[in-house]
Each structure stands twice: as C-alpha cells, then as structure tokens.
C-alpha cells in the first residue's frame, strides 16, 4: 500500500467512527494549520497512538508527501515516539546526520529541508495519548513563548480527541452519570437524616453510614436508600468502634 493510501485509509477509518456534528479530523486539521501560523514552524501534525502503541498522523497542516513521509517514519522511531513514551516535550532538537538517536528519521528530515523538530505531548488523565509534531526549516530555536503556545495547542488537540471519544460512548456514560448523581443525592439525604437522628455533625454521620455498610456488607448507596425510604432508622446504625486505627 502506498504511503498516501495508508494515510487516507487511517483517516477514513477514523471518519467512520465520527458521530453527528462533531468532525474531529476537521478540528485537528484546522488546529494544525493554526499551529503553523501561531508558532514559528513550517509544518505541524497531530499524532495519536494506536491500540498497538504505534503513532499515526491523524491531521496535518500540509498534504505534501515530504511532510507525510516524516510522520510515517515516526510510527516506530523519532522524536514523537520518545515524547510519547516519556510523556515529555522534545524542544529545539537540531537534526543531524548521522544521528544515533534517530538513524532513520533525522537524515530524511534534513533531506526534506527541516533543521529542527519539536514534539509536545498530548496528555489525558496522566497518560500520553499522542503528540503534536512540529517541523521548522529555519535555523535557530523556538522561543519560550512559542513553546508555551505550542503546548497549549497540544492541550486543545487533547480536548478535541476527548470530545470525540465521549460521543462514541454517550449513552453508557450518561446512564452512569445520572445514576451516580442520583446515588450521591440519596447519600447526602441519608447523611442529613442520620445527623439529625443522632445529633451528629455531617462527617460523623457519614462515618456511621460507611462503617455500618462495611459491617453488614451493604453498598453505601443501598444503605442510604433504606434510610431515606424509611425502612431503616438513623438511630439503628452500628456505632463504629471508638478506638479506630487509621
């Protein structure tokens, strides 16, 4: 399969998963273009890790083959791979030939006229899900301001991915949310009832609920529900042992 077909296939596969009005590829493509305008670089791309751990470009500021090829090489070797694995930005790395660190990637990038490459991690809940990859033809370094802007754009890309992924699972998540909210409400109501019945503060009331639930192998929500529905009185709960070792 040619490089171009592979890229198109990836995009199509992602496009199949898109739901209603939210076109994540569109957003990320626009973001990549914005990146080139906002930061002193000449090409930008958003790379995401596939389930197998390989990085794939999902949006790029340029359709030129020289740029796409450089993304392609980074499936297994290159600054973005390092950035993804370590979760740390790679900034102002001057490309050189030969390069022990990236023997495949660096010579190709130089051959295509780029002098430095930069990768900003896309981090979500403590994990790195991909990287924002930037290429620069001019010599010299990216300014500190540019680095801040670039990381900010990487963060936006992460939010966009998150928005997209959430729409894929919306029904399940919404059920979980509305149930969790309901459970939480019931627990707070039970706390109030227990606090009033025993003349306790809220924290003590909560401790009472938790220890009774533990002692009787009950879920906290189901215990709270019995209190709120009146099948169990707040005065009937087991007092937790006074000397508690934390």
């Amino acid at each position: 399969m040619s490089r171009e077909s592979l890229l198109i296939a990836t995009l199509v596969e992602l496009a199949d998963n898109l739901v209603d009005d939210f076109d994540v590829i569109d957003v990320l493509s626009l973001l990549s273009l914005r990146c080139v305008d906002a930061v002193d670089v000449d090409a930008a791309g958003v790379m995401l890790a596939s389930p197998g751990g390989e990085l794939q470009v999902v949006a790029s500021s340029s359709e030129s083959m020289r740029v796409l090829e450089l993304f392609q090489i980074q499936a297994n070797e290159g600054p973005c791979v390092d950035c993804y694995v370590d979760g740390r930005a790679i900034i102002n790395h001057s490309l050189k030939d030969p390069d022990d660190r990236w023997p495949q990637f660096s010579p190709r990038a130089l051959a295509h006229g780029f002098h430095s490459v930069h990768c900003l991690p896309m981090r979500l809940r403590g994990r790195t899900i991909g990287a924002l990859n930037l290429f620069r033809t001019a010599r010299g370094m990216l300014s500190d301001d540019d680095v801040v802007v670039a990381q900010g754009l990487a963060d936006v890309a992460t939010i966009a991915i998150l928005q997209h992924r959430t729409s894929l699972d919306a029904a399940t998540l919404n059920n979980q949310l509305s149930n969790a909210l309901n459970s939480r409400i019931i627990i707070e109501q039970a706390k109030g009832m227990v606090a009033q019945a025993n003349n306790f503060g809220m924290d003590h009331a909560f401790e009472l609920l938790r220890s009774h639930a533990r002692n009787h192998n009950l879920g906290l929500t189901s215990l709270a529900r019995s209190i709120v529905e009146g099948t169990l009185s707040g005065r009937e709960l087991d007092e937790p042992p006074k000397s508690k070792v934390r």
Binding site: V156, Q163, A180, I185, G192, G234
Partner: protein
C-alpha cells in the same frame, strides 16, 4: 464556519483549565463564547432530580436557585424539551410564561433568558441556560454558538464521568463543578425534624426560602449548622442561637 467556532470553544476551555483548574470553566466559557451576561448548566439525575452544575456569576446562580425553588423557568423547560427556549423580554413577558419565575428573575437582573437542551444525539443530560442584562433576541450566530456550546458541554461532562468507578460521581466533576449537596443534607435533617418524607422536606425548604426571600443554598447551610430548624408541633421554622452537637 462551525469547525472554526468549535476550535475557539476548545481553545477557551484549554486556556481556563490551565489557569483555573477548580473554576468550573464550562459556564464561564459558555457566557464568554456567546457574549451573553451569564450562563448556568443543570443536569438531570436518574431520579429526575434537577441539579445545578455550575453558574458563571452571582446573578446566574440566583436564577438557577430560583428555578429550583419554584420549579419553573427556561432551564427547567429546556431540560425536558427537544428545542431551545427563548424569552427575549422577560419584563414584558408577552407569552405569559413562568408566572412565579419571571418577575423574580427580572428583579434579579435578567431581562432576557435563553436555554438549550444539553444532549448528545437523542441522549438527554440536562440544560444550558443564559441570561442577558438587556432585553432583545439572540442573533443567528449567537444562537448557533449556543447550540454548539451545549453540545461541547454535554461531551465535556460525560468525559469527566468516564474515569469514575461504577455508581460514583467522578472526582473531577465534584472538583470542577459546584453541585449543591447541602440542600439535600438539609432536606434529610428536616425530614427527621418534621417526621416527613425527604421529598416533602425539599418542598418545605424551597417554600421557606421563597417566602423569606433567601437563597435556597443559604437556607440549607443554616439548617446544616443548626441555626434554623423545623418544629413539627407548630409547623413553624425556628431560629436557634447555636446548638452543640457531637
């Protein structure tokens, strides 16, 4: 172009998350993005309880509490409808809507109110409401922006819930948004004080807040710290001088 506007929303969110991680940025971004005076978001629990998630300023908070207290208003309507709610001149109130809510909302400073269902496809989470301090309709682009914002908010909230264990409200949500659980604690206490169901206790709390022109959350806090209680023999509310409790 919609993608352009969407990218702007995501950038506003990213900017706020960096500088104000606990601020409940969804509402502030909503107001800023649509250029309206204030915004509020409410969620429906599985028990059909209507819960405030965030509000962008003091007036929005007051309006949200008012809707919860009187059980009517634009956000309530949008929660249960499939289309946008719009009242561009609350003081005049040509359509004679919300006879309890409208005059009080006007007094609080809202001259126009708008609300949008927060949904992902057919899945209904709650509603996004706005107010403006001068009367007048939304422009077509403001309306499009509001729809887009509602969509992003739905996904953002679900994405926060995605990391949580079963039947638990996500810690991220508790941190980022401002659920008012003290109202439910107070309802539990009043239920025991007045020997009534928690449902009736909630109604009694709302009625008393409304009658004394106090905010529901202020009243709830006073109940929780035992400054206010309910005497079932007289059916009256009592101000205490400060009881001690364990």
């Amino acid at each position: 172009m919609a993608t352009d506007r969407l990218l702007t929303i995501l950038m506003l969110l990213a900017k706020r998350e960096r500088s104000h991680p606990k601020a409940g940025s969804l509402c502030s971004v909503a107001a800023e993005f649509t250029n309206l005076t204030g915004a509020g978001v409410a969620l429906l629990s599985s028990g059909q309880q209507y819960t405030s998630v965030c509000t962008s300023n003091a007036v929005s908070r007051k309006l949200m509490e008012l809707e919860i207290a009187v059980g009517e208003g634009p956000c309530v309507d949008a929660c249960f409808s499939d289309f946008a709610i719009d009242e561009s001149d609350l003081a005049t109130n040509l359509e004679r809507r919300w006879m309890a809510y409208s005059p009080m909302a006007s007094v609080a400073g809202a001259h126009a109110v708008f609300a949008y269902p927060v949904r992902i496809g057919a899945i209904r989470l709650g509603a996004l409401s706005f107010y403006r301090d001068v009367p007048g309709p939304l422009s077509a682009s403001q309306s499009a922006d509001a729809y887009l914002m509602a969509s992003v908010i739905g996904r953002a909230i679900l994405s926060m819930q995605a990391g949580a264990p079963r039947d638990t409200l996500a810690a991220e949500l508790e941190r980022e948004v401002t659920f008012d659980f003290s109202v439910h604690q107070a309802a539990g206490m009043i239920a025991v004080q007045g020997s009534m169901s928690v449902g009736n206790a909630l109604v009694a709390l709302r009625a008393h807040a409304f009658a004394t022109n106090a905010s529901l959350s202020e009243l709830a806090l006073r109940v929780v710290i035992r400054e206010v209680s309910f005497d079932p023999r007289t059916g009256a509310w009592r101000e205490e001088s400060g009881n001690s409790y364990e």
